[in-house]
Symmetry: C2
Subunit: 524 residues, 2 copies
């Protein structure tokens, strides 16, 4: 027997895991099946990869989204053939819109087995295409490591995008040539001095201006520079309604989010003469409505783009601050201000929001999918302790719980607060089980409106009159009433229900003072 | 005001619903969003459409699959844009493999709105392609009704396939020309007399023969003819491991299913000289394994195809029975035989299976996703009261609960029994809520193995040794333990847990004697 071979030969799956670990990818959200068993085995043979089991693939991809939003590097998502990928697609859609670095590993039948069209055979590339910036199916075990290294690099391109690597079972179990090292990440396009100067000049032309920032401009030094620039130029600093990751709260540059509804955006942008886009797109209506506009930039308003999302936003903002001579100025900062309401006050989203803002610990992460119940908490937390705020970027509900899960894995020393509507939470409630298993520090607040509350509003807005019984039956979540305390207990998460503000306040304060997963259902 | 217009003009959504109702499509499994609000409103304006809300799209499509398997006509599935369709794809994959007639209505942004690439914009056709036999995006309100009529017709082609109609919001809200009538369903190919004669001759040539039947050959008069033919020719009558819909039990022609694992199929087919395929494909391994075969027809075995799944199987079997002169013979029938075990016996899948078989009422429907716990119940129920048996056709877990839900909607006078592993049940447990809301007569038995039991077996089979801690963590569902009684209660379904055979027997007997949704968790 060849001793050297015995000690050094890796199969394709092992070469893949070693390549990922070498590239700094040390976390894998996993929902495997038979065709991924060699990858699963490799997580024991190769040191340094932490697998985290999720009991549904929408949790896998949503958690990887939350993880990637916080760390700006991908976790691996391990998915079982086409249907496993399919179950993760909705949250991949959200991640694509968020510009999150993501790396999907999708197992497939052995290369020679596909021709037999066994029951699980499907068009994996077809499923992957609408959400992936890069797709590769490994041809053999020798190429797996190189494909994986390329996948990591591609996932980081342009600040973050989705790379999907399809791994036929035999490319995982056959002998490989060992790990590969990561090729350089494609460099982000540097914004030219001419573009910086043009924007700098425009900002000083006296026109009524909105600077709309998104992506990497929403946190860190880039946000500080955006604040300095807005302050120096007198422009209003705004961001999209649903940011991927936004820093907010005391000590952070304040940004006004665009409202959700088109008419709200139109009102906010009225008489604006100039729109400067930094990592953001021109505002459009979330949906179309009969007789309402889709394109929301006011007529006659000039639009200038400093940087596209994929370009080097951080440097562009630094250059622009320097061009305006404010690179060292103190940026505007929100001041800490929270007010605890009287505990005898009515329980509504505004009093709830005040309680949440008051007890929110420093450096928390809010994963928000509170939709119609979210205005109160969003307003109050603007001046709460500093925190990150992660929103539904692609409009596909059911990402709040898994994104919270992934963010908690990424940042184990930070409290994660998940604010969620009951309708959306039903999509990916399996997240709670992973939170319990991994003892993640997530407090979930379920706003139990007992309806698709947003759809009641939308039904009205599309102009079809009052809902009849059949329409009502498609918007209402009573009959039977969901009991989130029981659902959470069924998945091993401590839970309680609050029917008064005093109850909510006591439960939320308690949750903020302890670690570990916790759910509070609020009847609102 | 033009009185005629006031009373007769329909918008596109109304013309669509009226067209569906006129074509006999009277049930819609629904998970709508803003872009589908005009369809939702139309279910009140147009009489005859029953909307059934499901709190996740995997339930929508799985329920439509169960409904279509039983009634051989489609329900409508109402889905919200690309991500809503994406959440339903895994069960559409199963439905495609089942040959179920399915009709997806996928709302989309208004035609003029797509150019703005709002957050929910995505490549809906791309998502639909891997599972759909027919896809159409309506261009305007006038064409919606015609497109819908064509969609119904296409969904019925070849015995059943998936038609996806994409409905931009403005084609739903603009004025239409009213409903359209359904074009003729494309006729199924009639099997030629020459093919029938060739198979008839082969069946009498004295070779050791297996007749492998699937699809429409698995129930009704087609199954009787298959039984007559097997009996007359001495051939063995078999069916795939996971049939779409199969009649079994007392008074029904007995069929032997192919085993799940490749080596089991190889053993069963050893020395078979002739394989006759009727609506079935040649047997192949479900997965590939190192060193194990994928193609399972024995070497030297002749394969003859009487009819492909899409062809007219029923007539082909009738013609073949006549050609063999047995068209009026009494087909072989299973005899009723159930044995109640001693209640002090050990609780395992075999004693459980005996209890289930004993109490199963006549004409029940079993939706099976019991996987590793399913052998006992499958054996015992072979001679239970006659019933239909619906299996996981595409290998994508999480279809047992929704298929049971849809079957119960389709057949309100029949008891539905859903046998389900705990791992798979986590995927689409939202089905329980719809069962409670619609008061469906479904008894769900959860086999709580507390692990992905099949994967423990598969891990062993792929030859990677014993699972280490990381691998084990991806196969094991303990820590925390799922509590299905709490989960079911949280969604309004009566539930209990059985830890002994006596407990299970009492609970299952009680469930069979009452109507309405019920869940029994069995610790096995």
């Amino acid at each position: 027997m060849d001793m050297k071979a015995e000690t050094t030969v890796m199969n394709g799956a092992e070469s893949l895991v070693q390549t990922l670990v070498d590239a700094g990818i040390d976390t894998c959200f996993s929902n495997p099946g038979t065709s991924e068993m060699h990858f699963v085995a490799a997580t024991d043979k190769i040191a340094g990869m932490r697998p985290i089991l999720c009991l549904f693939e929408g949790v896998v991809t949503g958690a990887a989204d939350g993880y990637g939003r916080m760390l700006r590097k991908p976790a691996a998502s391990l998915l079982h053939l086409g249907p496993g990928l399919a179950n993760g697609l909705a949250n991949l859609h959200n991640a694509r819109r968020a510009g999150t670095p993501m790396l999907n590993i999708v197992g497939d039948h052995a290369t020679y087995h596909s021709q037999y069209d066994a029951p699980l055979n499907s068009d994996i590339v077809g499923f992957a295409q609408p959400v992936s910036a890069w797709i590769q199916r490994s041809a053999n075990a020798e190429e797996v490591a190189g494909d994986a290294a390329r996948a990591v690099s591609e996932s980081l391109a342009g600040g973050g995008q989705i790379a999907t690597l399809i791994l036929p079972a035999d490319t995982a179990w056959n002998e490989s040539d060992g790990p590969a090292s990561m090729p350089p990440v494609p460099e982000r396009v540097t914004v030219s001095g001419a573009r910086v100067d043009a924007v700098a000049a425009a900002l000083m032309n006296g026109k009524k201006t909105v600077i709309l920032i998104s992506a990497d401009a929403l946190y860190g030094e880039a946000l500080n520079n955006a604040g300095r620039i807005a302050q120096a130029s007198g422009a209003r600093l705004m961001c999209p309604t649903h940011p991927s990751r936004r820093q907010r709260g005391a000590g952070i540059v304040p940004i006004e989010p665009l409202p959700y509804f088109a008419e709200g955006i139109v009102a906010e942008l009225e008489r604006v003469e100039q729109l400067v886009l930094i990592g953001a797109k021109s505002p459009v209506s979330f949906f179309a409505y009969p007789g309402k506009p889709s394109w929301l930039t006011p007529e006659g308003c000039d639009t200038l783009t400093l940087a596209e999302r994929e370009e080097d936003i951080e440097h562009a903002l630094s250059d622009l601050a320097d061009a305006l001579g404010v690179g060292l100025a103190t940026p505007p900062r929100a001041e800490l201000q929270t007010t605890l309401p009287a505990l005898s006050d009515k329980l509504d989203q505004f009093t709830l929001g005040q309680v949440i803002a008051h007890y929110l610990p420093e450096n928390a992460i809010i994963s928000d999918e509170s939709n119609t119940s979210g205005i109160g908490p969003a307003l109050s937390t603007l001046t709460a302790a500093p925190h990150d705020f992660l929103a539904v970027t692609g409009g596909s509900i059911g990402r709040g719980l898994p994104v919270a899960t992934g963010a908690a894995v990424a940042c184990p020393d930070r409290k994660v607060v998940c604010l969620h509507g009951d309708g959306g939470a039903m999509y990916t409630m399996q997240s709670l089980w992973t939170q319990a298993r991994e003892e993640l520090d997530v407090t979930t607040v379920i706003f139990a409106s007992k309806s698709y509350a947003i759809l009641n509003i939308e039904y009205d807005r599309v102009g079809v009159g009052a809902p009849g019984p059949n329409a009502f039956s498609q918007l209402d979540l009573r009959n039977p009433e969901l009991d989130w305390v029981k659902i959470a207990h069924g998945m091993g998460v401590e839970a309680s229900c609050a029917t008064t503000l005093a109850e909510f306040s006591a439960q939320f304060e308690d949750a903020m003072n302890r670690k570990g997963p916790r759910l509070i259902e609020v009847l609102i």
